[in-house]
Assembly symmetry: C2
Homo-oligomer: 614 residues x 2
């Protein structure tokens, strides 16, 4: 996730900013940069790579500047490169910006600015924004803050930004919408950052901008006002009572828990600029540019590993169900070593959070050799899979630091739902009305996810206490929630080291039911959907063998609730979207059990975040 930081005061700015960037490294990034305003001249350094690489590039800097901003970039628009790294400078060389977030309508803005003669060096949405600010300033003769405000009122998207102007060396303008921004209040000095970690040793007074607010920071103080109408806001100053480690984890005990909680946002980010409900479309260039391929595909083969493989299984249900294209899901490791039947009428989709999974890369190369059209779904921009594929879509979940994948998984589910719906619309396999009602519903899913977290977390903590001592778990689900049973079991396995196994519920009778006795907790995903009656029977079978059932049920369910030991409610949504909700309690359950078992949740034994070996 991008990190921003900045300083205005009486000290040398650049050591403070570089130190701040080091502090922000934990967020994950692929390039870094800094700009200082030294007596009316910008000193700019930026590079693909690490903050250490940036520091090396700053060796000759030794700047006396007391104002500056710095950035760690996690690529969203445009690959990681020196040019795409922030800060970005406006065409007239006078305005510098750093930006965290996504400008959804950047394409439209770019056309407008190009028509006015603006040119762009990078592929970023950020460079559009800084030039829009210049354009506002020049055409309407505005000061920096007003120009920023005008520009932001033209923007659709999410952002936190910091802007400085070469001619106003004693000012930083910041703004926020959906992306955090903290202002540290020191003695005649001010700090800005994505979180308080870069300035924790300098001050314990902090102002957190709210969504839709911006601020002008000078040596005289901080003025906060609304982006929309310039109305003044009285900022609340918070006292910082936390550790560096806690800040890095967003106040959570572990990155995994932070990432679980980030899911309403990460799913939203995945849909941002794509799911356009008002226009009644799903906009995905990767699909649209190759729509012939997709609409005429005889078969889609999804290859992946681990958690992404589970997302692939949900994808199979979604695409077959909605778009009526046969889908096969393969373990990448199995696919690559046999002699798979692949033709140029096949589309092979690889799903990988890191985009670096060795087996998936090898499988993709094999499919490419055999003439298939290959498509990537990755979270890391410009990763190996992203570079290898003919086209693709990024999940935009932000960097995932916990080894057990959570937010990348739900982002994959949201993306696959959009792909399935888009293909279904263009193939005409669902009606316009159905498409419309489904995208309206999909847009509300992030809120539903937030509800699930809010409503179930304390209950799940208690359940975790009851079952943390279990030696084994079974997870059962049917249909769309069969892959979620696998995923729930994998989460528990990964971080609690409890032997948990997922199964399609009906298969239980073909063997696993022999395991069930009073010592076997069984998690059953039982939303009130198509398979409800069958899953009720499965629960009865478990009950009659004295297994303990923890059920995920639809809000208001009474039948299952009366039958089981524990029931956890999720909102009632279309079956297609239930996996995005039902997996949340299972992530939380695995997390809280692991914590009680004193496991290093973020780095469980034996596991690597990205499996780059075969």
């Amino acid at each position: 996730m991008c990190g921003i930081t900045g300083y205005i005061g009486n000290k040398k700015a650049y050591p403070i900013i570089l130190n701040g960037l080091k502090r922000l490294e934990y967020r994950g990034y692929d390039s870094a940069g800094i700009v200082l305003n030294e007596n009316g001249t910008f000193k700019l350094r930026k590079t693909k790579g690490s903050v250490s690489d940036l520091i090396a590039k700053c060796k000759d800097l030794n700047s006396e500047a007391t104002v500056g901003i710095g950035h760690t970039r996690w690529a969203t628009h445009g690959v990681p490169s020196d040019i795409n790294a922030h800060p970005h400078i406006s065409n007239n060389g006078k305005i510098a910006i750093i930006h965290n977030g996504i400008i959804e309508n950047y394409a439209t803005l770019k056309i407008m600015l190009t028509s006015k003669g603006y040119t762009f060096k990078s592929e970023t949405d950020t460079e559009i924004l800084v030039n829009l600010i210049q354009y506002m300033q020049e055409t309407q003769n505005l000061d920096l803050a007003t120009a920023v405000r005008y520009a932001l009122n033209e923007v659709i998207g999410a952002y936190s930004i910091a802007v400085i102007e070469v001619d106003q060396p004693q000012e930083i303008v910041v703004a926020r919408l959906s992306s955090p921004l903290a202002i540290g209040i020191g003695e005649n000095e001010y700090f800005i950052a994505s979180d308080a970690s870069p300035f924790i040793e300098f001050t314990n007074e902090v102002v957190y901008l709210e969504d839709g607010e911006m601020a002008t920071i000078t040596l005289k103080g901080v003025d906060v006002y609304k982006i929309k109408d310039n109305s003044k806001v009285n900022p609340q100053i918070h006292e910082l009572k936390t550790s560096l480690e806690k800040i890095e984890k967003g106040g959570y005990e572990h990155f995994m828990l932070k990432e679980i909680h980030e899911q309403p946002r990460s799913i939203m980010d995945t849909m941002r600029g794509r799911l356009l409900v008002e226009e009644d479309i799903i906009q995905m260039a990767g699909i649209w540019d190759y729509q012939e391929k997709f609409l005429n595909a005889e078969r889609i083969i999804i290859i992946s590993c681990g958690t992404s493989w589970h997302a692939g299984l949900v994808g199979e249900y979604l695409i077959e169900d909605l778009a009526r294209i046969p889908v096969e899901v393969e373990y990448a490791s199995e696919f690559r070593y046999r002699n798979p039947i692949i033709t140029d009428k096949d589309i092979v989709i690889a799903i990988s959070q890191s985009g670096e999974t060795a087996d998936s890369i090898a499988a993709l190369k094999l499919a490419k050799e055999k003439g298939a059209f290959i498509y990537g779904i990755c979270n890391v921009i410009d990763s190996s899979i992203a570079r290898l594929t003919d086209a693709g879509s990024y999940t935009h979940a932000g960097p995932e630091i916990g080894v057990a994948s959570t937010k990348a998984f739900t982002a994959q589910l949201a993306l696959l739902a959009m792909i399935a719906l888009k293909l279904a619309k263009h193939k005409g396999t669902i009606s316009k009305e159905r498409f419309n009602s489904l995208i309206i519903e999909l847009e509300t899913i992030p809120e539903r996810v937030a509800e699930v977290i809010k409503n179930t977390e304390s209950q799940i903590k208690k359940i975790a206490e009851l079952y943390a001592g279990a030696g084994n778990f079974l997870y059962l689900g049917r249909g769309y929630n069969y892959p979620i049973a696998l995923e729930g079991a994998l989460k528990l396995k990964e971080i609690s080291y409890i032997h948990a196994e997922g199964y399609p519920a009906a298969e239980m009778k073909h063997g696993p039911i022999a395991l069930i006795d009073e010592n076997m907790p069984v998690v059953v995903i039982a939303p009130k959907k198509g398979y409800y009656d069958k899953i009720v029977s499965n629960i009865q079978e478990i009950n009659s063998r004295k297994g303990k059932v923890i059920a995920i049920v639809t809000q208001g369910d009474t039948v299952v609730k009366d039958m089981v030991t524990e029931s956890i409610e999720i909102p009632d949504v279309s079956e297609y979207f239930t996996p995005i909700l039902s997996v949340i309690p299972l992530q939380l359950l695995a997390y809280y059990i692991a914590v009680l078992r004193d496991v290093n949740v973020d780095q469980p034994r034996n596991l690597a975040k990205s499996v780059t070996v075969e």
Copy 2:
């Protein structure tokens, strides 16, 4: 499996024979029958259904006859019905036969006999045989025994038979090839049966016919001689020192162990009359009659549950690899409840031992509605799936009584190998030479299976002692042996109640490896085949986490053997056939661990032999 019994002496024959049939019920059967020779008249009763049904039909019998034979039938040729039930009578009404086994060249013999004016009431191969005996007798003016001998010399197949003639009321002729036959020696009375259970209370002296032997039994005694050349044999009389229960289990402690040991025969039976190496063909009417369908299929979808689903996964590898037809394997329960994409260019194959699996039946019906060609692979003749499908092949493994499937599974694998090879030959996706060398090798697989059992059983007993206390197991395999990892884990789960889980080996790094510590035994199937290097790496990864590895390796392997705690050798065969061998030690391991844990191996808790509910 068919059971035969008979009596000749001074007592009333029919109560002894009916009692004997009751004793044979454990073998599994679908119909029963009896024939008595009462002073030169045959008294025949037979019925589809149980021995109790037969007894009901014998109420009016009250025959004084002292000679007779009886049969319980497990259908192989022709559905279970009154007409197909044994005994069968020759066209002239003078010869009656009961038969256990398969006459492979029955079709040729039938054509010959039909040309001579013979007619047939039933669909059985047995009725051909009894008329061949009549034909020999009439055309060459032979006594019964010689006619039987001449007839058997024309026959290809496996059998144990008992024959009586209406005009020779004091004689039973019996013969055996590959199917057991015991003769009980009483005082002026003799008993015959598939095993000693029908006559255990009457005598403890027994002669077991050897393969290729026949005997004439009269009140004067038993004459044994070779079928081939009539040379006399001095029979060895054994003293019976066993219990009824032990006889039923063929001397094994449990049906499951008996069935494991039966696999060389049951696999051979599955290939019998189909794998014709000398003619360089695989003869399978179910495929041949619909070769257009098969050769033009765009996709084969295999649906099944439990152990049969694992066979389906191996089938996917075999058919894709050899015949280059895309194959998808689905859980029947998942397939039926979604809205699967099926067209009339698809072939749907259901695999089910019982042919009664509820979810598979429902899935087949759905596929049929959607226009697919549906094919059945079952073990039970005329089962629901056999009746429902457009065509199919039976596995001929004989009735499986242990709830945990063993011999039905390897029979499924052998059948799928034949289907894949046959399709490959006709599609031209493998060369004639390769086809020829593979079918030559496939024919030797039953011997290889016998070797595995012989060479590994005592070693596995010892390994079982070391691991019987384990709480968890992992099973890993790649490629053709990935489904065997799943199957090995399922076996252990079913009968030992140990939580065992199978995984494709490469997926271990995506989660399950977190479970591995010094308490986790890991069974790795590591034959020296295509994936060998990769699986060696996987074993190293387990070793470095202190997991205990039990490896299944190729004879003569040294690399893996040096790395692991235990290694079990299987013969070196083509990769296609390794699953048939590698599963055997896993069946034995599950069995011996379960025995040590004192589980009711043949009827583990919570499980039914055939899952006829949803």
